[in-house]
Symmetry: C2
Subunit: 196 residues, 2 copies
DNA sequence: CCCTTTCTGTACAGACCATTACAGTATACA
DNA sequence: TGTATACTGTAATGGTCTGTACAGAAAGGG
């Protein structure tokens, strides 16, 4: 009976995600979203309820399609010894790939953390959750890389590496070289901890 | 001949600075600035030329009155051995002081780094300059604290501590406890480097 | 083929924004 | 005290924004 939806919801969310990623929530307008998604205003509101609803869908998509896949090897039951180094290298490559969204815009969530939308409880909670997940994944990666390390040292090293990753995200837009170097430093620390 | 200015320019800039700090450039409106500064629209435009002009004045004031004084002990000719630890402790106290601007809003510049205004070349340059100054100051502080440390280790430790400070700024709004802990980690690293 | 249901495009409404134009007012010197 | 000068309040301008209302188009089942 009902007419079927003529567009692929996931594609729409991905297009919106790119826009929010680039410009942030407040600085992305409905007309821009119309153009990027190919949908008209009506369909956007009919499908997502509001600009905020579309943003939430974009954030969830960012979480599932961008963040989680990178962390997956560190969240698996068995973590490869080099998984944490590969994570950092992969991130660094993304940062050095000129023109890519991570290189030019950093992290959608970390950007939101300093913006007005970051004051929103739901968004703030999600960012805190991501930080916590990142921290846990990195700690597991370090454990797999340097099993002999005392737990206290592992934990501290995880704090440091997590901080360096977040600092890299925060600075990529204004100091890309330093942001990449920050990841390099994290890599070196893990390497030398294993040697010690 | 000319009528003298009836308001204290510095006070106006400080009031505007607090607003920009809390809400960012885009999310602060002229009516809000009028109310906070006590000036009318005319006087704001007459004195600062534009909203952007007032923002630039606010950023300069932030640099001179907030950031620089904290770094000063690390930029003096002779740096005290504990200056870098005191810097981190002072920052941590500011972060833990509930309701204060640093605790609730982090850093005006780091927030701007992820916002649209951070794409502006002048603002981006200023943020990069601050990062570089912070990094240099921290390195000098570490040198003063642990003079025996090899230069390579000092440099790496400075990278790490700088990253942890920036990560703390980036996360304070959404994860204040973790942000403060990040500074604690930085402190511990410097302490244990000195002991080694 | 018809009819119900859903999707979609256009036009509108109401609010806010930064900025400017202009008139009025207060000052400091002659 | 007069007057040139600069400061300041009001009001208007032109633009943009999100969200909504409504009409029309498309699609699937009977």
């Amino acid at each position: 009976m009902p007419r079927t939806q003529a567009f692929a919801r996931d594609d729409v969310v991905r297009a919106a995600r790119a826009l929010f990623w680039r410009s942030g929530y407040d600085n992305t307008s409905i007309p821009e979203l119309e153009q990027a998604t190919g949908l008209s205003r009506s369909s956007i509101y009919n499908t997502f309820g509001s600009k905020r609803g579309l943003f939430d869908a974009a954030v969830r998509s960012y979480f599932d399609e961008i963040l989680r896949p990178r962390l997956a090897p560190l969240q698996a039951e068995a973590v490869e010894p080099h998984a944490v180094l590969e994570y950092l290298d992969g991130m660094r490559r993304a940062f050095e790939q000129a023109g890519s969204l991570p290189a030019t815009c950093g992290c959608l969530l970390i950007n939101a953390a300093g913006a007005p939308i970051g004051q929103d409880a739901a968004v703030a909670g999600l960012i805190a959750e991501y930080r916590s997940e990142l921290r846990a994944a990195i700690e597991r990666g370090i454990e797999a890389h340097s099993p002999g390390l005392p737990g206290e040292r592992t934990s501290q090293l995880a704090d440091v590496v997590t901080g360096l990753v977040i600092a890299a995200f925060a600075l990529i837009r204004v100091a890309p070289a330093e942001a990449a170097a920050s990841l390099g430093t994290a890599r070196d620390l893990i390497g030398s901890a294993g040697a010690a």
